[in-house]
Symmetry: C2
Subunit: 685 residues, 2 copies
Amino acid sequence: MLPRGRPRALGAAVLLLLLLLLLIGFFLFGGDLDCELSASWGVGGMGPYRLVEEGTPDDPVSPPQLLQVAIVCAGHNSSRDVITLVKSMLFYRKNPLHLHLVTDAVARNILETLFHTWMVPAVRVSFYDADELKPQVSWIPNKHYSGLYGLMKLVLPGALPAELARVIVLDTDVTLASDIAELWALFAHFSDKQVIGLVENQSDWYLGNLWRNHRPWPALGRGFNTGVILLRLDRLRQAGWEQMWKLTATQVLLTLPATSLADQDIFNAVIKEHPWLVQPLPCVWNVQLSDHTLAERCYSEASDLKVIHWNSPKKLRVKNKHVESFRNLYLTFLEYDGNLLRRELFGCPLGPELLQRALAQLDEEDACLEFRRQQLTVHRVHITFLPHKPPPPQPYDVTLVAQLSMDRLQMLEALCRHWPGPMSLALYLTDAEAQQFLRFVERSAVLSARQDVAYHVVYREGPLYPVNQLRNVALAQALTPYVFLSDIDFLPAYSLYDYLRASIEQLELSGGRKVALVVPAFETLHYRFSFPSSKAELLALLDAGSLYTFRYHEWPRGHAPTDYARWREAQAPYRVQWAADYEPYVVVPRDCPRYDPRFVGFGWNKVAHIVELDAQEYELLVLPEAFIVHLPHAPSLEVSRFRSSPAYRDCLQALKDEFHQDLSRHYGAAALKYLTALQQPRGPT
Amino acid sequence: MLPRGRPRALGAAVLLLLLLLLLIGFFLFGGDLDCELSASWGVGGMGPYRLVEEGTPDDPVSPPQLLQVAIVCAGHNSSRDVITLVKSMLFYRKNPLHLHLVTDAVARNILETLFHTWMVPAVRVSFYDADELKPQVSWIPNKHYSGLYGLMKLVLPGALPAELARVIVLDTDVTLASDIAELWALFAHFSDKQVIGLVENQSDWYLGNLWRNHRPWPALGRGFNTGVILLRLDRLRQAGWEQMWKLTATQVLLTLPATSLADQDIFNAVIKEHPWLVQPLPCVWNVQLSDHTLAERCYSEASDLKVIHWNSPKKLRVKNKHVESFRNLYLTFLEYDGNLLRRELFGCPLGPELLQRALAQLDEEDACLEFRRQQLTVHRVHITFLPHKPPPPQPYDVTLVAQLSMDRLQMLEALCRHWPGPMSLALYLTDAEAQQFLRFVERSAVLSARQDVAYHVVYREGPLYPVNQLRNVALAQALTPYVFLSDIDFLPAYSLYDYLRASIEQLELSGGRKVALVVPAFETLHYRFSFPSSKAELLALLDAGSLYTFRYHEWPRGHAPTDYARWREAQAPYRVQWAADYEPYVVVPRDCPRYDPRFVGFGWNKVAHIVELDAQEYELLVLPEAFIVHLPHAPSLEVSRFRSSPAYRDCLQALKDEFHQDLSRHYGAAALKYLTALQQPRGPT
């Protein structure tokens, strides 16, 4: 979705891209999105801005007030959690929101891309670097599973912009079951001295009687839980909060070795000393499902739960006789289609509504309207959905790049066995399918063992498969200098990863030579299939009729220029020439041209990419020992639609024509050969 | 899910079945589900019951009050609508609900099965026969698109149980955006004389100025909209409501030819005459998105919408600059996983919790726990999801029975071309996928043209594919005397439907002869494939190696007893004997044994069914001109799991062992041969 480094891209593709970037930029960086903000203000940092803080939230005629929410989030798994929390918040909210996310580099990378592409109206996001804040809390010994990040809520008054007077602070493991404006409204109950709103801790932990020799930190009675906090930042700063908590923590640490519950221990110790600071909140605003929870006292009397807090390390697997109901609420938002939250906020005009306008300008009578809409769709993207360790930088390393949807999940294990190197895979999924995918990986020993496979979820929207947009997401996230642009239903030769790296080194490609290494493609028609362990074995299978060159029966033009006859005998890489409809699988430098996103659905998506490589004068070199084999599957829905619908084929033709026009515009006379080639007599399409 | 007519089923299967029926029965017919109901009461009709009507809904300590909701619903499409409405209601509700559904036979059939299998705690459903009520309104000429059913809200005071004092009446095209208890609470604002609560009509319709010569029915000002009604049934009955509205309607019909807006015209005319009857409700309780809507006046000032009413005949396609937001809310519930609404109501104990107990009794250490859980899962079933016309009764007619999930949708068009007769198909889908399926059918000319294909949606839950439960749903819904038990990835010979009917007639099967007609199965490995138009062509392809007998390479035992060599030459049906692992595709009488639901996931699901046919002494007769051909596809996730997981294979073995034990228990010594057969040396598994 966010291509980078395209050196000389095609005209219309660039235009489309610019439009998308403009749209994305608009949603995050400009426009009068938050009803009551009259000035523009910094994002992505701590730039200066003005806020109108006081409002009348209960008055239905005044524009809804901007609410401020801060969350600390680090790593891949917490990023997924925070998205579920945000979905629950957005579902019920009726106010514009400003999210303040204190993140490590991993979470920032994920969440920045997510919010950029999510484009929820009247939501603004600012990021704060957790690593910069670390020194302020790293001196505190802490035994809590959340680690150092668990302590960072203490430093929010200093970390958040000085202009920010109030903020709601949420843990990543809470789920909202009501409108967060109701929580914000509780600020109005604060007395002049109160600075912190908290719900009582719903266990006996701080009473110190859970087990023998249990020595908790000091607290008022049962103490308070810090999963949900209302902070009067202005008053905390005035009161010298930083000195206050540091002093208290230092004193307690003279007698206790470490915090057990991170920031919560310190908040409680401070409150014990200065009880007038706290405004106790109704228990429904933080229903705690910890291991020793007494929360039932709260929710059995109040049918109206507001916030659920999964504060056991067991999270959703916690034992509790009502946990099924809580879990259903959590699953509701986990699986909720986040695209539906792009809805406009009533009483909060959308502003210029660029995307709407672009969509409105489409010709409703256009036979290819569905294609146009799909091209304009900005898909929500969740990069590195699962924990991922980037490969160590190596000059000849290659990432396998591919895209898939649910119906190809069963390919992943085999692919992992065949390709021991890094992979960058884009998955086109609904929110619910993303959870099925997660369980699928967790259940697979083969997949769980791999940290070098990056899975990027692109959320489904619209009827056509955005194949090239998916490829571009996977390509943009590849971190090695070279990429192998493959398809999910191919298995590489077991040796391919090593062989490619050796070839890149031998061919001295790292000097910036523009080369696309062709990996010859074959296919089997049998479900069960003994994969050839060498080129010799592959050739034997080919001679026995157990294997064919890829699409030999249906579409030989697609791979004819690879010259399989020559490949049989070849001992060294050999150069081949581009010809019409050529669509080989290639290894190219990471900064290669992007795929043309106009090609959605079935057809011509790879062909156009190879045309552009040729137009940019990439040499095509076939590797003599490389091969991949396509496994059989039923035709995809897209292929079926292509074959059965003349209108679909006409639209594809229209896309091709536009592609060629752009090609001429961009490459001038040199592009003539692509048009001429098309006009020659051809085989079946 | 709800098998019927199983003559002599196997022990454990029966036990499982009984448990399920017990559970289902419990949820609908018994138990103290509604917190405040102390007596049991009639369901599915108008039986006597006691209600505690007056409560204190705002008191958090008293158990939540039972709320009464009535909806009129007829036909397949309205049934889908009403489910979306109910989902939105259940999502926000915190009270037990009693739904009173006035339905035609189609809607009753669908909704009864749905609620039986949905098992939402603290929801009770009563059905009332709309056809019985028709005479009371059929005398009124009516031009509204809802037809006669549009008038039925008028007769609710008489149709609903005399004990029922208050009810909320909703149109099927409304969506709730808040807790219905808030609407119920508005009854408290009624004066002593008021009997009907209504929201003002949000268009100028009743002002009569929409176009020249527009003559609307009489109304107070803009009149009221009847998509959402609060009815004081007790007072209406006392006030002689029936006489009142009939008199008014008769009078107006002296000057106007018909009602334009059905019941709404008559309600308005009555209110015009007796304005003290109406309690006007806040506009947010019925935000009307009709073609000429003025609703923006309501929602632009109130950010807090409560009920959206899609009261344009264009429904979601209505033009309105805010429609995208409303649509997102609607889609939220359309695609919401209804299984999540099975959650317990806080403050409202679940009662005996039979299903929970059954689940709790499972051994957590059992290696096959996942299988046990899946077997106990009661799947929500939506029969005839799309409009369906049952085939006219014919003595030799055959329904093709099969099941599928999303990844096989592309088979449906080809299947329709190959099988011109009735089909009963079970689809295993999520709620969101069911909508994708709906769009898929709407877009396909081939599928839209067929009214004799019944699609039954079985909602997904759990990790294993409940293949036999799906087959049983499709089988139970087949309406012809014979069924062809097929699988979705097979295409029948073009002549098969006619040939089967002729064969049944010739073989005089209708006398109750226990015969299973075997349809020989073949397979192709090519995606593109020219389907043989005759047995001769099929044999030629077989000889040319373009076709094989089914699973010839992987599992020849599955079809060996069919004796393909004999079939080549056969001119007449011939009898074959059962042998171990035989799993032919057969045509049997509709009252054949059900599939054993213990087989979930991959393996042995058809084999066990054929064993039971044999145990029940069905003759196996191979038809000489019948054939089906399997098209290639990638192995399903289930097959992949089976192949890669020893634990999965062990569990399947355990299921098989239990099956054989039940077989012996049921059929005694006669069942010995099945065990013996298993112990013989065998081919690859």
